[in-house]
Subunit: 144 residues, 2 copies
Amino acid sequence: MDARAIRQSLEDSGLRCTAQRYAVMAFLVEHAGHPTAAEIFAAVNRVDPRSSRATTYNNLRDLVRAGLVREVAVEGRAARFDARGIRHHHFVCDRCGNVEDLEWYDVPRPASHSLGKRVLRECELIFRGLCSNCARRRAPRKAS
Amino acid sequence: MDARAIRQSLEDSGLRCTAQRYAVMAFLVEHAGHPTAAEIFAAVNRVDPRSSRATTYNNLRDLVRAGLVREVAVEGRAARFDARGIRHHHFVCDRCGNVEDLEWYDVPRPASHSLGKRVLRECELIFRGLCSNCARRRAPRKAS
DNA sequence: ATATTAGATTAGACGTATTCTAAACTCCGG
DNA sequence: CCGGAGTTTAGAATACGTCTAATCTAATAT
Ligand SMILES: [Mn+2]
Ligand SMILES: [Mn+2]
Ligand SMILES: [Zn+2]
Ligand SMILES: [Zn+2]
């Protein structure tokens, strides 16, 4: 996704393409590592122009509303964000809290009778366990 | 799950069955509505003996670690908790944030090649959309 | 061009959820 | 009794996010 495409997707969503908003979106497209709002704020300000914390939060809120960005709530930690590029699932590490992308595959929807009058928008599949880093540290050596 | 069973499950997990800890667990078993820590704190203190806020949080942490309680992180709101009774999925309302139980069904695991060296503990399926209450308010009347 | 307007940004105060701290308490085995 | 691990407590402290009110910007109307 290049600069032009980012600009376009913002405008298609009825959002002005301001320098600050563009910077947030561009950073997320660039970095697939699920940064927190604080990390995004720091990163876009390392460059230019200085953006405020409130603006970063405002823009993240707007981008999530527009469906361009996904927010991942992790228990006990700051929310994490990613650009909704190609569909994928998430793996959350029990130990370090890292969020990693996992190849997407179709998820069976719930039976409509169990859904009742609810209106379903999306099914999110989250895997939990130990990331490869933490699995290595945790696992006892086979033979010393 | 009766008093005896609760006491037993705590001890099986290596946790002393204190009045405060028991009260938290009993409240969760009793109330399937996914209360927040603050709600649990208020509820167990409405009865006896007075438990502190820190203790409520400590016990929730211990119970989650022991696998007896599940924590559900909802973006922008306080965490919610439920006793892990029979397996079920969750539906989270976009509008009011309520968490509702949904009938459980098996979820296909990811291909092992996409999992890499990660150690998978569980697959969690979360549905999002509008709960029946919010769907009613939102949807335009068909004919007045 | 100038006025008007809605949208966006800003710094910092604020609020809420959660964790930390350090002292006291409880239970149990020796 | 005594010692130690586990637990509880009140309140301070922190983390994260939202709000306010003033200011700025960009798009449109006159
Ligand atoms: Mn992702
Ligand atoms: Mn539940
Ligand atoms: Zn990890
Ligand atoms: Zn709702």
